[in-house]
């Protein structure tokens, strides 16, 4: 089944699958940011006069929570556009 596929194409395909798998990291920040936004909405409902401070704190916390998702995104981008695995394979000189 794999006979018609060159090694380079196989590595590229596997890199694409890896990039897709790396983006599973987006689930965590999504849940976390939604949680933060929900609690911020609750806080605004309880104390509408502190809306500015609450919004600022929420955005800051969400930005920090986003970090892990961004790491996953960076790995996916590197796998797709920099292709370190293909370079490593070509350097092997097989």
């Amino acid at each position: 089944m794999l006979q018609g596929i060159t090694s380079e194409a196989f590595i590229l395909g596997c890199s694409a699958i890896g990039a897709g798998l790396a983006m599973i990291a987006g689930i965590g920040p999504g849940i976390g940011q939604g949680h933060a936004a929900g609690h911020a909405a609750e806080a605004v409902g309880r104390q509408p006069e502190a809306q500015g401070d609450i919004t600022r704190t929420m955005l800051l916390g969400q930005a920090v929570a986003e970090t892990t998702g961004i790491y996953g995104l960076v790995i996916a981008i590197i796998l797709l556009f920099v292709r370190p695995l293909l370079t490593a394979y070509l350097n092997l000189g097989l």
Binding site: L59, L60, A63, T67, L73, V74
Partner: protein, 222 residues
Amino acid sequence: MELLIRIAGKDIIVPDTIVNVWVVTVLLIIFALVVNKKIKKASIDEAPSNFLNVIEALVDVVEGLVKDTMGPQNMKFAPYILTIMCFLIVANLFGLLGFSPPTSDYSVTFSLALITFVLTQYWSFKNAGGLLGYLKGFTEPMAFLTPLNVIGELANPISLSFRLFGNIMSGGIIMALLYNALGYIAPLITPPLHAYFDVFSGVLQTFIFIMLSMIFIGGAAE
């Protein structure tokens, strides 16, 4: 547009993001010179013109933000914060003009984060009172936590730069994919997405970058 520089027989390709950094820098320098000239001409007795009013409001907002986040004793950092804010806003919104935004290049965001990192380390060094006190700060609260503290300190500029880079870069990639997929009907569908990925995301990431910079520097400068 990319630049090709030939030095001693070697070709050096300057990517368009780096060229755009210089375009943004030159634009901001011209803007600063214009503001400088206008503010020197303005007299105290008259009400400021519309243009100067906007500039004054901007400076007021940034000074208030610095005062709230870093405390009144750290007002000396307000010019730095205003500078990176102006640069980041113009750089992030540069994508709207059809160029690639300078902040979608990792070297740009990493150098910005390095400035904040060096400022943080300099002020914590100064406040600790010499090398010994500075190194001792890493062993708190317990000695065996030292590697964790060092890694935590080094992770700050990396996460700061990757956050900005990732957001702007991913917006650019998604827009490029959409333009390729939609072809001729792209102008009908993409404007709201530009509003989100370029305007909203760019302004939000600017705000978050300067807030985190202020918190890091303020924590070190006490």
